[in-house]
């Protein structure tokens, strides 16, 4: 018994000694900086959630493999907004903000982003959106969009329709949410300026799959072009059904994905979009490095949604965190990243972009990136016009 007491006593003394004499924990042992994401992980937009999370995770893996940012490792926490459900987004955001105490949330879709923005303001948390395009996302506190919004891209759809197709009568078919309505509103406004008339406006549910009633009404309105404010797989279904129902006029839009191309097949031929498009084949070193790393990880070329969320972590949050650490702050603390972002924008700091060159984020939360008009040839997009100083310069 006495022997046992001796051993216990010695152990306690050794533990106390270790606690006093041991060196402080290295930086790597500190709590990781948690990055929240609210994405479409289930539902009709699950494709987006998958590629967006892959893009961000790739950046996090690269940073952690290199020892973190100033020794601080990163960790991604993902919540699901079920492809646009604002209630699900708010539930996810409350968990991320109150339980996980994240200093930043990477968000997607317009309605979920709008729904969580007041919560982010309350907690002084930075919001980065690389997916939603609704014009209602402009000028929202704490929110910075790294994808050009519909109010920025849709006018070029109309410009293209008028200049290339001499369109006088435009019909619109769009998501019945903030994003789609934003595109529709921007098209109507641009049409008013460029002398064309919107002859049919048909909203549809996200992921509707059947558009027969809308297409019948559009066909009856005899438009010169059909402009889409729909996204993702819906574009493929719309093209298939519109062509099958005998709509032969040019169809233009603001979104294209490989999955939509797969669904639409040959009916996608000639479909044209105005978009800030990421080109995996571009020559920039950052682009090349990102594309190669993504391909190595996922055996697939990155989508521009993957590029946007990779950019969020690697090219926006990383430099911001480094600035915070350099001045002795804690990037994991709510308010720090937001404050640093605001300081960076006041100093008109440009962020590098995997699109090539830099991206300029504006204080109203919009971004300027290379913008172009593309159309589908075969099963891929081809650049047919560059946008310079607000005008489309068609490629010969």
């Amino acid at each position: 018994m006495r022997g046992n007491r001796l051993w216990v006593g010695m152990s306690l003394v050794m533990m106390a000694g270790w606690a006093v004499l041991a060196p402080p924990a290295p930086a790597e042992a500190q709590e990781p900086v948690k990055l929240g994401m609210i994405l479409a992980m289930t539902g009709p937009g699950a494709f987006y959630g998958q590629v967006m999370s892959r893009g961000a995770q790739l950046a996090v893996d690269q940073i952690n493999k290199a020892g973190g940012i100033g020794g601080r490792r990163l960790q991604i926490l993902i919540e699901d907004h079920k492809s646009g459900d604002a209630d699900a987004a708010v539930t996810g955001a409350r968990k991320l903000l109150d339980v996980d105490k994240v200093p930043v949330i990477l968000t997607s879709y317009s309605a979920p982003t709008l729904a969580i923005q007041p919560l982010a303001v309350e907690k002084k948390v930075l919001l980065l959106n690389g997916g939603g395009v609704g014009s209602v996302l402009v000028g929202k506190r704490n929110l910075y969009n790294t994808r050009m919004l519909s109010s920025q891209t849709a006018p070029f759809v109309v410009q293209w329709a008028v200049s290339r197709h001499s369109a006088k009568r435009v019909a619109t078919l769009f998501w019945n949410d903030a994003a789609g309505q934003g595109v529709n509103g921007a098209i109507k406004e641009a049409c008013g300026k460029l002398g064309c008339q919107v002859v049919a406006e048909e909203p549809h549910d996200i992921g509707a799959k059947s558009y027969s009633a809308q297409i019948a009404r559009i066909k009856a309105a005899r438009p010169d072009v059909l402009a889409l404010g729909s996204f993702g797989d819906d574009v493929g279904y719309i093209l298939t059904q519109a062509r099958a129902y005998g709509i032969t006029v040019p169809i233009l839009g603001v979104d294209w994905t490989p999955n939509a191309q797969k669904i639409g097949g040959k009916t996608m031929e000639g479909y044209a979009i105005a978009v800030d498009r990421f080109d995996p084949a571009a020559g920039d070193d950052k682009t090349k490095a990102f594309v190669e790393a993504y391909k190595a990880a996922h055996k697939d070329s990155p989508e521009f949604y993957a590029a946007n969320y990779y950019e969020h972590v690697e090219l926006i949050l990383r430099p911001l965190m480094k600035r915070i650490l350099d001045r002795g702050g804690d990037p994991a603390k709510q308010g720090e990243l937001l404050g640093e972002m605001e300081r960076a924008l006041s100093a008109r700091l440009k962020f590098a972009s995997v699109y090539g060159g830099d991206m300029q984020i504006h204080p109203d939360g919009t971004v300027s990136k290379p913008l172009g008009v593309y159309d589908v040839k075969g099963d891929a997009l081809t650049l047919i016009g560059r946008i310079v100083d607000g005008k489309i310069q068609a490629r010969p």
Binding site: T42, P203, A213, R217, T240, Q241
Partner: protein, 290 residues
């Protein structure tokens, strides 16, 4: 305007035919067993996923996929009746208990499909989709198959119900369970039979749907909700009523496009249901009961 009306009527006839098939698949079970079989949506999902796996990954042909969906649907429906509903009936569970069990099965089943197959939408390959134009109206080859397939199955079922011994026995149980039992019909056996037939039909209906739409774990809910509306619209307990309910629903949803934007279809469906139920609470062809 005339061309638009013709196109919308065609659309209505096409979607109404599929609604009729789905309505009959559920209405047959409900009329015979009085079970509010919400898990019918899960049967559709399971049957279609089995076929998508066979056609998309194992390289089976599309006809074999249809056959598999019918078989899997039938077996799943029968298993649901034997494993879930019959034990509940034996302990005198109320209709509400059984409905809640069905709802629980649907939620748990959808989650299981989500875990096993993931959230990503899948498609059913192998059917050439193109347009068919007939004068002022146009539709796709898939929609043509909806029309032909739905009516072929509906007519076959109606003929079987009216002109065969088992068909008449099912109608007898649906009409009066106790009286049918008195003349030697086993209602439990008939329950099993209608679960098998109704579930095979919803599997086939799901396949028709999957030819146009992508397949996700929640694919079954919306079509089965539409089936409920068709059944209540047409009259509970009436198979011709479910067919008529489906057609009226499809036509009303689409013809509403003459006056309202296309995305109001869902609202129109409920307005039609409400209006019919106010003036004819037993549905269009339902039998008034005191």
């Amino acid at each position: 305007m005339l061309a638009l009306a013709a196109q919308l009527a065609t659309n209505g006839l096409i979607s109404g035919s599929l609604y009729a098939l789905l309505g009959v698949s559920w209405g047959l079970i409900f009329a015979t067993t009085k079970i509010f079989h919400f898990a019918h949506a899960l049967t559709l999902t399971v049957a279609v996923y089995a076929a998508v796996l066979a056609v998309g990954q194992w390289g089976w042909g599309l006809p074999a996929g249809f056959l598999l969906a019918a078989v899997v649907g039938c077996l799943f429906g029968v298993a649901t009746e034997r494993v879930v509903y019959r034990p509940l009936r034996r302990v005198n569970a109320t209709s509400l208990n059984i409905f809640l069990a069905s709802l629980g099965l649907l939620i748990a089943g959808e989650s299981a499909v989500l875990i096993v197959f993931g959230p990503q939408a899948r498609d059913l390959p192998g059917f050439p989709i193109s347009g068919i134009a007939l004068g002022p109206v146009a539709f796709t080859t898939v929609e043509g198959l909806w029309l032909a397939g739905s009516w072929a199955l509906l007519l076959l079922l109606i003929a079987w119900l009216w002109w065969t011994r088992y068909g008449r026995a099912i109608r007898a149980v649906a009409s009066n369970r106790e009286l049918a039992q008195c003349v030697g019909i086993d209602p439990e056996r008939m329950s099993l039979l209608v679960f098998g037939i109704g579930s095979a039909l919803v599997g086939l209906g799901g396949m028709l749907l999957a030819l146009r739409d992508t397949v996700s774990p929640t694919i079954g809910v919306q079509p089965v909700l539409t089936a409920f509306i068709a059944v209540f619209l047409g009259g509970i307990g009436s198979i011709p009523g479910a067919v008529l309910g489906g057609l009226v629903l499809g036509l009303a949803e689409n013809m509403g496009g003459l006056l309202l934007p296309g995305h109001w279809q869902g609202v129109i469906a409920f307005v039609v249901l409400f209006s019919v139920l106010v003036f004819r609470p037993s549905g269009l062809l339902g039998v008034r009961t005191r």
